[in-house]
C-alpha cells in the first residue's frame, strides 16, 4: 500500500459562533506547524426541496420560510415571486409596494442584527480580545448606547415585517398572486413617526464602521482578502436593486462578464461543484470555468456591482466607499461591514419613500393570470442573490423545487478567506484561541447563513471532483441541473 501520511495535527473551531447556522473550520498542521489545509465545513443536511415536492403550491411561500429564521422574508418573497410566474400573474401596485416594504424591512433588521448583535464585538474590542467578552452582553455593558441603537434599529425592521407580513418571524402576508393585507393608514403613520431616529442611527452606523475601517486601513483591506468575481441583481440603469431586477456579473478586476441577464436563465450562467468534505456546494461562473469562476454575493458584491444608488444618503456613502478604494474593486471581507451598513441606510431611505406611496394603503391585493406551470423567483436577500425555481402540475402540486441560497454562492470566497487568514496568522505558530478567532472574524464578515445553506440542496449544472487524500484530482463527472 501507500506510505503512511506524514504526521499532521487537526485543529477545529467547532461550532462556529456568532454566525447563523451550523458550520466548523478545520486546520491541518504539519509536523513543522505549517498550515497544510484550512476548510470551512457545512455539517448539516436537511433537504427541504425534496419534501416541498408534492405539496400544494399555495403552501410554499409559508413553508420555505422555515429554511431560515433570520431572513424568512427573503424566502417568503422569492417563493411568492416564483409562484406569481407559475400563475402568470403581474402583482398589483399595492401588492408590489407591500412586498417591497416587507423586503426592505428585512434588509434593515438583518443587517442591524449582523453588525450590532453578532459581529461588532470583534471590531470594537479587537479580534484577539478574550472569548468571554466577545458578545452582545459585553457590548451592552461597555457601549450601552450603541447596543441600544442596534436593538432599536432591528426592532424597527421587525415592526415593518410584522405590519406587512402579520408576524415578525415566519409571517403569512405574501401569497401567490399578491398579498393578503395592505398597510393601514395608522400602521403607516406609526412607522413614519419612528423614521427620523432610524435614519439618524443608520447614518451613525455608517460613520462608525467607516471610522473603524479607516483607523486600521492596512489590516482591514488585507485581512482575508482574495480576489474573485461579483454577482448580483441590478435595477434599471444599473441601480442598486434588492427586490427585482436583472443579473450582472463582474470578474475580479471589475470587467462586466454579463449584464441584463434574465434571472430565469440562471442555469446557463452559473454551475456548481461538489466536494466530499462539505454539504454546501461550490458554484462558479460558467463564463470563467470551475478553476477561476468563483464569485461573491451580498453587500460588498452589490455595492461594487451597481452603478449608483437611488437614495441620496446611501449614494453619497457609496461614492465615498468607491473613492476610498481608488474607484477599483476591494475584495477585503471586512469591507463587507462597511457595505452592509451603507445598505442598511439605503433600506431606511427606501422605507421612507415607500411609506409616502398612496398605493401602499390601497385595496387591490390579488391578481389573476394565465397559468404557466413554471416559475423562477430571484431576490437580493440580505446575504446575496437568492433563487427559487418551481414547477407545478395541473393538480396544483409542486413537481420540482430548486433553491439556490445566498450563502452557497460565497462558499469558495469564504474558504479562500479562511485559507488566507490561516496562512497569515497561524502558519508555524501555536494556534491559540484568540488566533483562531481570526478565522471566524473572516467568515463572519460574509454574514453566512449556514442554516439556509444546509436546508437547501440547490441544483445547478453539477460537476463532481474526486480527489485522493492529498487533494490531487482523480476524476470528474458532470450532469445538467434540474
Amino acid at each position: 500500500m501507500t506510505e503512511a501520511p506524514p504526521a499532521t495535527r487537526r485543529v477545529a473551531i467547532d461550532p462556529l459562533t456568532r454566525v447563523e447556522g451550523h458550520g466548523k473550520i478545520t486546520l491541518r498542521l504539519g509536523a513543522d506547524g505549517r498550515v497544510q489545509q484550512a476548510r470551512l465545513h457545512i455539517v448539516e443536511f436537511r433537504g427541504f426541496e425534496r419534501f416541498i415536492e408534492g405539496r400544494p403550491y399555495w403552501e410554499v411561500p409559508v413553508m420555505v420560510q422555515r429554511l431560515c429564521g433570520i431572513c424568512p422574508v427573503s424566502h417568503h418573497l422569492a417563493a411568492s415571486k416564483a409562484m406569481d410566474a407559475v400563475l402568470g400573474v403581474t402583482p398589483t401596485p399595492t401588492a408590489t409596494a407591500v412586498r417591497r416594504l416587507m423586503h426592505y424591512g428585512q434588509i434593515l433588521q438583518s443587517h442591524a442584527l449582523h453588525f450590532f448583535h453578532l459581529a461588532s464585538p470583534d471590531l470594537l474590542f479587537g479580534f484577539d480580545s478574550e472569548a468571554s467578552r466577545r458578545n452582545l452582553q459585553a457590548v451592552a455593558a461597555e457601549h450601552p448606547e450603541l447596543a441600544r441603537r442596534g436593538v432599536l434599529l432591528r426592532r424597527f425592521g421587525q415592526e415593518v415585517i410584522r405590519i406587512t407580513a402579520g408576524k415578525r418571524i415566519h409571517g403569512t402576508g405574501s401569497l401567490p398572486g399578491g398579498v393578503n393585507k395592505a398597510v393601514t393608514a395608522e400602521e403607516r403613520d406609526a412607522l413614519k413617526a419612528a423614521l427620523p431616529e432610524v435614519l439618524a442611527w443608520a447614518k451613525e452606523g455608517v460613520a462608525l464602521v467607516k471610522r473603524l475601517h479607516r483607523e486600521r486601513w492596512e489590516l482591514y483591506e488585507s485581512f482575508g482578502a482574495a480576489p474573485c468575481g461579483l454577482l448580483s441583481l441590478v435595477g434599471e440603469g444599473g441601480r442598486l436593486e434588492l427586490y427585482d431586477g436583472v443579473l450582472r456579473a463582474r470578474s475580479a478586476d471589475g470587467r462586466v462578464l454579463f449584464d441584463g441577464a434574465d434571472p430565469k436563465g440562471f442555469r446557463a450562467l452559473i454551475a456548481e461543484e461538489v466536494k466530499p468534505w462539505s454539504y454546501m456546494k461550490f458554484p462558479y461562473l460558467v463564463a470563467l470555468g470551475p478553476e477561476r469562476g468563483s464569485y461573491k454575493v451580498g453587500p460588498l458584491a452589490r455595492l461594487q456591482n451597481c452603478d449608483f444608488i437611488s437614495t441620496p444618503l446611501a449614494e453619497a456613502e457609496r461614492v465615498t466607499f468607491r473613492a476610498a478604494h481608488g474607484g477599483g474593486l476591494t475584495h477585503a471581507p471586512l469591507a463587507y461591514h462597511w457595505a452592509r451598513l451603507i445598505e442598511l441606510l439605503h433600506a431606511a431611505e427606501v422605507i421612507a419613500e415607500l411609506l409616502e406611496r398612496p398605493e401602499l394603503v390601497g385595496g387591490d391585493l390579488l391578481a389573476r393570470g394565465e397559468r404557466t406551470g413554471e416559475g423562477v423567483g430571484v431576490i437580493e436577500a440580505p446575504r446575496g442573490t437568492l433563487i427559487h425555481h418551481y414547477r407545478v402540475g395541473a393538480d396544483d402540486l409542486v413537481t420540482s423545487c430548486n433553491l439556490i441560497v445566498s450563502t452557497t454562492h460565497n462558499n469558495q470566497a469564504m474558504n479562500d478567506a479562511v485559507a488566507e487568514v490561516a496562512r497569515r496568522y497561524l502558519d508555524g505558530v501555536e494556534p491559540t484561541e484568540p488566533l483562531l478567532n481570526h478565522l471566524e472574524v473572516a467568515i463572519r464578515a460574509f454574514d453566512p447563513c449556514l442554516s439556509c445553506a444546509t436546508h437547501a440542496l440547490g441544483k445547478m449544472p453539477l460537476e463532481v471532483v474526486v480527489e485522493d487524500a492529498a487533494g490531487a484530482e482523480l476524476g470528474r463527472a458532470s450532469k445538467r441541473g434540474g
Binding site: 431560515c68 458578545n135 452582553q137 441544483k459
Partner: protein
C-alpha cells in the same frame, strides 16, 4: 440577585426561535442584567459549563445534534424545548418519509462522506426522544412575549404561567 447562567443551542432548527428571543427588544437589556450567557450561538463559548437553564431550539437530524443535546442536558438544571422543531421535529421532520441515502445520492451523486461531517440520522427526532425535557414552549417560533413571560417567571422563582393568547401553535 445572583445571575442565572443560561445556555442556548440551535440544533436542526432555523434560528427563528433565537431571533424571537431577540425580539424582546429593549427587554433584552433587562434580561442581560439578570442572566449570564454561557454556551450559545450568541457568544463565543463553544461548550457549556454548569448552567441553571438551557434553551434548545431545533430537533435532531444528525449525530452531532445528539451530542450537543446530551452535553446541554448534563450541564443544565432545567432544560427547555423551545419551538415546534425541538418539541416534535417540526418542518425538517417532513423528510422522515424519504430515504436519506436516495436523497443524498440524487443531490450530490457522490455523497459527502468526510470524517469531519457528522452522520445524518435516518429520521429527524424531537429532543424529548433522547433526553428528559423540563418545559415545552410551543410556537413556530414562540412569540417574544411568550419567551419573555417564561423567562421572567423563572427568574423570579415562579412556576411559568403563560396565559391565553401568549402561546400560539403555528
Amino acid at each position: 440577585m445572583k445571575k442565572l447562567k443560561v445556555a442556548t443551542a440551535s440544533l436542526a432548527g432555523c434560528f427563528g426561535c433565537h431571533m424571537s428571543l431577540l425580539d424582546i427588544d429593549e427587554r433584552l437589556f433587562t434580561l442581560l442584567e439578570r442572566v449570564e450567557l454561557d454556551r450559545s450561538p450568541l457568544t463565543d463559548l463553544k461548550h457549556a459549563g454548569p448552567c441553571d437553564l438551557g434553551l434548545v431550539e431545533g430537533g435532531l437530524c444528525n449525530a452531532e445534534n445528539v451530542e450537543v443535546l446530551r452535553e446541554l442536558r448534563k450541564s443544565c438544571k432545567v432544560l427547555v424545548a423551545v419551538g415546534a422543531c425541538a418539541i416534535n421535529g417540526g418542518l425538517p421532520a417532513q423528510r422522515n418519509h424519504l430515504d436519506v441515502r436516495e436523497c443524498l445520492t440524487s443531490v450530490y451523486r457522490t455523497v459527502p462522506n468526510d470524517p469531519e461531517l457528522p452522520l445524518p440520522l435516518d429520521q429527524v427526532h424531537a429532543i424529548g426522544d433522547v433526553v428528559k425535557v423540563d418545559y415545552f414552549l410551543p410556537g413556530c417560533p414562540p412569540s417574544a412575549d411568550a419567551l419573555w413571560q417564561f423567562l421572567d417567571d423563572l427568574l423570579h422563582g415562579r412556576t411559568p404561567h403563560l396565559g391565553h393568547g401568549v402561546i400560539a401553535y403555528d
